[in-house]
Structure formats: C-alpha cells, structure tokens
C-alpha cells in the first residue's frame, strides 16, 4: 500500500470518528507555531529599546507585551489541551471499535484463516504496543506546527542572508545523514528482535499461565520454563548492547551538529553586526532575533524531518491495520427471504476444501434431510462433521455442488432471514458477559419476554436459576461486571442449549452439546431431544454413540464422504460398517456385547 493512500485512509477514518478533534489539532498546531514565532520576534523590540532610548514607558510596554503574549499562549494551550487529551484517547479507542465492526462484518472464512488471524494480531500489536494510532496523531500535529514555523523563519532569515540559510541547510543535511543511518540500523535491529520478543513473550506468559501450573508442579518443569525466560532475556540484551553502543555515537554526532549550528548562527550573525553586508547594519535586537530564528529554524527542520521519517515508519506499522480495514465485507447478504417451514434440505455433490488447505474436507457429499427429521451425524474426529454445520450456517460456500433448501440454493436466500431460521450450539460455543436472560434472548430488549423460562426449564436449568440471587437477571461471568456469577462448564453448556431452543428456529444444530454434562443430565437431553426441538428439523453431532439412537436417521461421515445414511437399526445390521464399529466399541464397555 502506498504511504499517501494509507495516510488519506487514516485521515478519513479519524475525520469520520471525530471531526472536532481534527480542528482542535489544527488549532493547537497553529498556536504552537505562533508562539515560537512570537518568541523569535518580540524580544527584538525589547532589546532594541534597552540598547537604544530606554524610554521607561516603551520599556514597560514591550516587557508587558512579551510576558503577556507568552501568558496568553499558555492559557490557550491549556484550554485546548483540556479537550485534546481525552479526545485523542477517544479517537484511538474508536479506531479500535471500527476494527471490531470490521471483524464482525467480514466473511466468516476470514476468521478461520490463519493469515487473517496473523494480520489482526499484527494490527492489534501495532495499535496497542506501538500506540501507532496515537503516535500517528501526534506526528501529524508536530508536523503541521513545524511546517508553519519553518516557513515563517525561512522568510525571516532570507531577509538577512541566503548564505546563512545555505550554511544551516548543510548542517541539517549532515544531521539528517547521521539520523538516517541510525534509523536504518534501528529498523534492521528492531526487525531482528521481533521474533525473539514474540518467543520471549510466549515463555513469559507460559510461566504466568494458570492452566499450566498443575503440570508445572507435578512434573517439576520449573527449571525448563524459567530458564527460557532468562535465556531469551539475555539474548535480547546481548543483541541490543552493541546496537546501543553504535547508536550512542550517532546520537552524540547529531547533538554535536546542533551545537555546530548554534555556533554558526552566533558567528555568522555576529559577524554581520560587525561587518555590515549589502542590506545594511543590524541592531543588537535584530541580532538576537536572527540568532533565535536560526536556532529555531534548524531545530524545527530537524524535528520536521524526523516527524516525516517517523510518519513513514508509523504508516508502515499501521499497514496491517489498514489492510485489515480493507478486507471485503460479507457479500450476497440479500436475496429471497426465507419464510415458512423447512420442507427439505438437500446436499448435492458438495465438495469443500478450507482455503489454504490442499486436502478437501468434504468430497461429493450428497444426502437429503426431510423437514422435521432428526438426524445424527457420526464420524471420527476430523471426518468433516463440523464443516457440514458451517456450510449450513453459511459460514463457507461449497467449492462445488449445492446445498438446496426447499429446492432453492441456500446462498440465494436473504442472509438475515436464513440466520433467523437456524439455531446452533457449537462445540466451542461462546456466551457473553450479558445477563443470563439477555444471553438467551440475544438482544438487550431484555425483560420478561415469554419463553426464556421455558427454554431454561427444557435445558434443565430451572433449579440453578432459582438458586441465583438475581435469577435470570444475573450477569454472566466477571469479565464485565465483578458481581457477575460464574457457572460451571455444564451449566454454561445448558445456557447455550437454552439459547438455541429459545430461538425457536426451523433448523437446530447441536454440535457436541453435552461434552461437559454428567451422565444423568446428558441422558435427559438425549431423551427429550425430540420434544426439545419440537417440530423443527435437527442435526445432532456427538461422540456418545448412544445418543444417535434417538434420531430418525444417522449420517455416517468417513473421511469427508457419506459412508451411510440410514436409521440406527439398519446400520447395526452392517457389522463391518464404521457405525457398528463405533457403536460397539462404546457399548462393549457397558458389558453388553457378551451377556
């Protein structure tokens, strides 16, 4: 991405988020520039008066102007700062919010793509660790101010002598040369540190990771864990020390060039006082003015150039953010509204490969599910069961073949209307830090919408709700509110089930919904599965083979292909089939095979 385009994207975003901030920023830049200029020009009048007539009134007047101007500038700066500081945070928070919106709008496939995950991580890293958004804003502010100051001072000095400007420009060039080589060195150095820092970060967080502590103690891994932290730390130190030593020389050179510029300014302007040029003699007041113009000029140009270089750098830090913000959003969202009941779901020769993978997960999958049918999907880990679910939820589009619902391609339906018709409990379901009630209703309309109680009862949570002080209005988890309640894995899973039931969807999909439940609770869910789902069509995935006998038919997936699709009794007749093998391997443990 070109720097100019990144810059304009950034400005557009910031403008959208807070136009007031842009104005405040401009205002403070103008103010800063004006103050610098005033401090170059105003002392001249005081000094001329002091070295000249020394009229008490005029002396008082110029002293008052000088002091008063500085005071007024400070006052205005305070007034602006009051709004700038928190608005700056507002803007950078809102830019993160924009990214959150983006994440919720991109096609789901992006969220499972390791490259996009990496892109997001890099974007977040730049935004949080490098505070790239804030630095960007600061850089733009100083840059604007410096441009104003440089232009003003340049005009002023040109009146005295273009030669001075040339001399100073040479010094600046020298300084920038040093600065440029530091930056290049610094960049290579920082790049070489990134992977080491990431690895160091992993081992540090490992030591502090609560989940690992049992293992760490029982297997006495203390040594192996802490040694890595120390090793990486030392490695970072050993790589950095020589770099810092080089950097110290360059920094000293740059600082020395600054002294050289001051020396040149005093020497040159002083010489012109003693030996007047073509433009005539200059007063002592003008001497101080030109000297501070010269020193102000060089420091402003240096600062400006550094800002420009940092601008390039921050823009490159922001590249992942910008790239992420440019990801295409979900398309094909509109279409024929889905309404009424599901008559039939038909997979027609569906083949699907995850982006970036070279092995297809599903190959030529065809089957029909009738409306109202309860289907169990069975297969080994990695057989493609969960992928079926994702295709049905329109998170991915088949590479070839079609999924037809009531005779129409799933992707021709309006997205929102289809989402209304589907409810799913995913294997890795997520609940949110809302009230339990809101988690089930999934909107903050909240309140006593009928049905939440019913859904909770069906999921077997009635008693638990009665035990909670605030019942279904308890906040879930402590992430958002410290007074929230923490429920066990089994209870959370039941809430996820209640949420799916509450939705009253036409198609209910349950992917390993009872893995955290105990046998009794699990059996209750199985047994009431049909009444739970009611008239709707249901897809049920579980490693507990006994659950499948509650379903009308069982879809056996083996290595991405449909191995079988028949009722339980039929499948049990095929004693060499995968289903029989899976079922009996668990059934044997219940001592059933032999006796």
């Amino acid at each position: 991405m070109k720097a100019a385009r990144k810059l304009s994207m950034f400005l557009t975003l910031a403008w959208e988020v807070s136009p007031a901030y842009i104005f405040l920023l401009l205002g403070s830049s103008l103010l800063g520039g004006a103050q610098l200029m005033a401090n170059v020009v105003l002392p001249k009048f005081l000094i001329d008066e002091l070295t000249g007539a020394q009229d008490p009134n005029r002396l008082f007047f110029w002293t008052a102007v000088l002091v008063g101007a500085n005071w007024a500038f400070s006052f205005a700066a305070n007034a602006l700062k009051r709004h700038l500081d928190y608005r700056k945070i507002y803007v950078s928070e809102m830019l993160r919010e924009r990214m959150a919106e983006k994440i919720m709008r991109v096609s789901y496939a992006c969220l499972e793509d390791p490259e996009k995950l990496d892109l997001k991580e890099r974007a977040v890293f730049a935004v949080t660790t490098f505070s790239a958004l804030e630095s960007m804003v600061n850089i733009l502010a100083t840059l604007t101010r410096d441009i104003i100051v440089v232009a003003g001072l340049l005009a002023l000095m040109a009146m005295l002598s273009p030669l001075l400007v040339l001399l100073l420009a040479l010094c600046i060039g020298l300084g920038l040369l040093f600065y440029g080589s530091i930056r290049k060195d610094q960049r290579t150095f920082q790049m070489s540190l990134i992977p080491i820092n990431r690895q160091y970060g992993y081992y540090v967080s490992l030591c502090a990771n609560g989940e690992i502590q049992k293992d760490a103690r029982l297997y006495s891994m203390e040594e192996m864990m802490t040694r890595r932290v120390s090793d990486y730390n030392l490695q970072i130190y050993e790589r950095s020390a020589p770099f810092m030593a080089r950097m110290s020389i360059f920094n000293a050179l740059i600082d020395a060039v600054n002294s050289l510029q001051a020396a040149i300014a005093y020497g040159f302007v002083g010489y012109r006082v003693l030996v007047p040029g073509t433009s005539g003699a200059i007063s002592l007041g003008s001497f101080t003015m030109y000297v501070s113009a010269a020193t102000g000029f060089t420091s402003s140009v240096m600062e400006m150039s550094m800002s420009l270089i940092s601008l390039g750098q921050v823009l490159s830090y922001l590249e992942p953010y910008m790239q992420f913000m440019e990801l295409p959003e979900e398309k094909d969202m509109s279409g024929v509204p889905f309404a009424g009941e599901i008559g039939e779901i038909r997979f027609e020769n569906v083949t699907f490969t995850y982006p970036g993978s070279d092995k297809s997960v599903l190959t030529g999958v065809s089957f029909d599910v009738r409306g109202g049918e309860k289907v169990s999907v069975v297969g080994l880990n990695g057989a493609g069961k969960t992928t079926l679910v994702k295709l049905l939820c329109r998170m991915y589009r088949p590479d070839s073949g079609r999924i037809l619902v009531n005779g129409r391609d799933l992707w021709e339906y309006d997205h929102a209307s289809w989402m209304k018709a589907v409810a799913a409990v995913f294997q890795d379901y997520r609940l949110f830090a809302f009230t339990i009630d809101e988690n089930i209703i999934c909107s903050d309309a909240g309140g006593d919408l009928p049905g939440t109680g019913e859904a909770l009862r069906k999921a077997g949570l009635e008693q638990k709700m009665a035990e909670l002080e605030n019942g279904i209005y308890s906040m879930l988890g402590k992430a958002y509110d410290e007074k929230g309640v923490e429920l066990s894995g089994g209870e959370m899973q039941k809430i996820a089930i209640a949420r799916a039931l509450y939705k009253n969807a036409k198609l209910v999909i349950l992917d390993e919904p009872t893995s955290a439940l105990d046998p009794i609770a699990e059996a209750e869910i199985y047994e009431h599965f049909n009444s739970l789902v009611g008239e709707g069509t249901a897809l049920y995935i579980s490693h507990r083979m006994s659950s499948s006998i509650f379903c009308d038919r069982i879809l056996v997936i083996d290595g991405g292909r449909v191995a079988d699709f028949a009722p339980h009794a039929k499948l049990m007749e095929k004693t060499d089939g995968l289903y029989y093998k899976l079922f009996m391997s668990q059934a044997e443990n219940y001592n059933i095979s032999g006796d």
Partner: protein, 600 residues
Amino acid sequence: MKPSYPVAKTLRRLLANAASNDRGVFFLFALYTIGAALLPFPPVVLPKLVIGELTGAARPEYLFYIVGGFFLVSAALVFMKDVADQNSYMRIARLRIDFVRDQFTKLIRIDYPHAEDDKFLDRYEKAFSSTRSNNNGVEAVYRSLFKAPAPALTVLALAVFIGMKNPLILAAIFVNIAAVVFIGRKVHAFRFGKREQLGHAERRKDYFLRTTHDFTYGKDIRVYNLRERFIENCRREIRGYVDILSVIAKREYLWGFLGLATLLLSDAATYGLLAADVARGMSIADFSMYLAAAASLSLYLKNLSAEITTVLNEGEYVHELFRFLDEDLYGPRGTRGPVEGDTLEIEFRDVSFKYPRGEKHIFEHLNLTIRKGERLALVGVNGAGKSTLVKLMTGLFHPTEGEIFINGVPIGEFEKKALYSMFSAVFQEVNVLAYTVLENVSACDGGDRARAEEALKKAGLWEKVCSLPKGLDTVLLKVIDEQGAILSGGEAQKLAIARALYKDANMVVMDEPTAALDALAEQDIYERFGELTKGKTALYISHRLASTRFCDRIILLDGARVAEEGTHAELMASRGKYCEMFTVQGKYYTQGAAGKGAKA
C-alpha cells in the same frame, strides 16, 4: 502526598543489586552526570560573550574564537553525556533481568492454591508490572536515579548564579515550578481517586473490544445476530470511559489557572527586574545571559522534579515486587523425601475441604483408602469433587480439616517436590508446550532419548513422532517455530500419557483423559491403561462409567462424601446411584446393540 512505602529501603536494595551485578554502570553514571550537568552552561555563557564582544572590542577574529570554543566544549560534553546515557540503557535493562528471573522462578514455585486464586494476580499486579518493560518499575527507577543528579547539580549552580543577581527572580521561578509540581500532584491525586471508576469503565470497554477482536466469538455473533448490539455497547462504553477522562481533564484545566498565575509572576519578575537592571546600567550581554540562565533554571527544575516523581511513583511498584519476592508463599511443607521403590497407598482420614474462597464444602469428613497396587475408578456427577481429590492427594491443595496419609506418613511431612515426584498424572486438558517432543515428554532440558522413545512407543505416538521432520527434536505448536508440528486431540492426549510413562512415578492418576476424543481414540487410550499402570497404584477418574470396567474397584462420590464403593458387580447388585447412572448410560447401548432405535 507522602509515599506509603519505605522509599530509602527500596532504593538501597536496588542500588545494592546494581553494585553487586554491574559496577561499570556507576562509572557511566559519573561520566553522564559530569557531561549532563555542565552541558547547559555553554549556551548560557555564549550570548554574553558574543554580545560582549559585539558591544565592546568588536574584534571579528575573537568572535570566531568564542563560537569555536563554544562548539568544542559543547561537543565534548555532549559526547560524554550521550555515550554514557545510551550505553547505560542496556546495562540497566540487564539489571532488570535478574528480577524477572526471580519473579518467575517464584511465581512457578508458590503454593498451588495461589495459582487458582484469581484474586492473587490482582493482588500482586503492581509487583508484576514492575518488571514488564524498559520504562516502568525497576528500570524506570534505575534510569531516574541515573539521571536525576545531573539536573540537581545544574539547578543548584544556576540558582546560586541567579540568586546572587536578584533573589526575587529566583523566588518567582521557584514559586512557578512549585506550583507546576503541586498541580501535577493534585491532578495525580484526583486521577488516583477516580481510579476505581476508571478501572471499571476501562474493563467494560475492554471487554467489548476484546470479545469482538476474538475470532472464536465470530460464529455465535453471526448466528445469533449480535453485531449491532455489540457495536452499540462498545461505543457506549468508550464514551463512558472518555467521559471520566474529560472530568479529569477539566480538573487539570482548572488547576492550570494557578500555574498560569505563577507563570505570569515568574516571567514578569524575570523580564521586568532584568530590564530594570539594564536601565540601571547592566550590560545587554549580562541581560541575555541571565535570561538564558533563568530559562534553563525553569527547564532543569522541571526535569529534576519529573525524575524525582518517577523515582517516588515507580518505586512503589518496585517495593511491591520486593514484597512479593520476600513473602513466604510456599505454603506448608515438610522435609521427608519421596517413597523409594514402592508404589503408594493413600488414605483420606476424616478429610474436609472447601476452596479458600468457596462457600460450599467439597468434602465433609471424607474417609477413603486407595490400596497399594489397586486400580481404582472414581466416578460421580460433575462437581462431586473428583478433580479436587486429586489436587489434595498430590499436595496441590491442603485439607481444611483431617489428614491424608501416604504409606502411613502424613502428607504434610513430605517435601513438596518429593510429593509431586511420586505421581504420574494425566489430565483432560493437555497443555502441549512450544518445546521439542523430547522436552515435552521428559519435562526437562536434555531428557533421555531412549527412555522418551520407549514411553512414546508405549503411548502409541512413536510412529507419529517418526513422521515429523525432526523426530524427537521437532518443536511443537507454531508459536516458536513456524515449522512446528500440531497434534490432534487424541495425539496430544497420548503425548501426556507418554510424559506420565517417562516420569515412571510411584503412582498413576488419570483425570478424564478421554472426554474430547472420538469412540475409537477413546478405546485406544483405554487399552493402553494397563501398560501405563503395570505394578502401580492407579486412580482413574471419569464421568463415563464404562471406563470403570478395567478397574479393580469403584468409588462413587456424591454430596461431599463417598456414596458407594465396591466392584462393578457389587455396585450393580446394590442397585444404588451407580447402578442408576450406569443403567441410564448403558441402556441405550443395550437397546442399540440389539438393533433397536429409541424412536418408535
């Protein structure tokens, strides 16, 4: 505001650490202090000399001597300062490493209950953040201590210089800077007073940002149509957070008027009094010099007060770190070594237990014996305390009441490490680490390859390991090595079993090792159980009752105590809870195996 911690003691300990680790840093400190303290003076003297020459003898060549001299002196000082400063940077960073090491070494050795206490990390949050970066806590204090003496010397010299000219100017400058420092403290205190409110708002805002940035939430947000709600909530929380910041900014603005008033005083005194002196005959060269000196004094006073503030504020974090390092967090511990050459018998005698912050007792007067050499299955509904039992017998947690005996010895008499060394444990959640296969299996640096190979063979993972590019030396996960290997759920579980086999401890404990596996993978693990437990006491925990079939004895936990115990046949015959649970789980298999569906 008085610091609420022993400042001198904290600083002394930091300096002692520096003195014992790196004396070179003190040399750099001396170099820096000389360079940085003198550096402000050439720019103060330069205008006087130049203007003096211009208004006096007016010799061009002298003008060049002056600016040349200025350049040479300044450049020399700047080299001293910069070289000392930058070279000290990494040496100071190096000083932090030892504290990082001590901190993590301690963190991973403290008594286990702390690791499960979510308040624990909060309690030591300040301590841990003190070693987190180059510019806070330990390093910040070191850096400020390194830098503060130079401006202190500069300020002292300038104060004497200006004070001798006119004490009123000096006083006005001091009043102004005192006001600035005072305001800084006031605003800091105001912000500190708002910290809970601010923390609360930040937490809420971060919740929404974090959740939406977490890709694993994507499915549920889409299927349950939560996007608009999240956007709205997120914006509301950001506004709420920023509103608090704006209140603080307003307070700072209002206090700012005090600063403005004293600024006016100090500027008016400086310019007014010096201008009056010129009117009374002071040279314009001196006027310029004193103006430059006054400006420098303000600047370096501000620097100095910033460094001191940093030392005081960040010192508190360092103090918290020292508190963490000094506190005895290792819990009760004995001195006895591990049981040698024998497997274990474990007896719970009248044990009651509740978690430190828990309200409910997990066990009440529990009596239970795991006999030497037996294979015991522990079953029960979720929350019956199965995993807690493991934590108690391995010494991770301590009974609230009662006593646990290992081979007749009270558990408290064993040394922690000895206790841990006696158990090979496999848990449901396998934590695969980004180390090599060998390191994962041997749980140490430089494990025994032959022994690891044998353990992996027994666990049924050897073939997989051989198929990896670097075999035993393949790094797992992709965090550290992009070529790293990823294991499936079943393979990870086998890795954990291999680790347990490698350890070859006195007793084996398996806590729900198959919950996430498919039927065949589960069966595979069951079949290896015999190999793993040969000749050893073994405890197998599961809520899959079928797993009890390969155990000698079964214990059913229910309601804080042992509800039933016996062999499978005995328990089935007694028609209790075990029988009920087994029947519930098994009946559909019975039905199903007979070829019948549950649906009519």
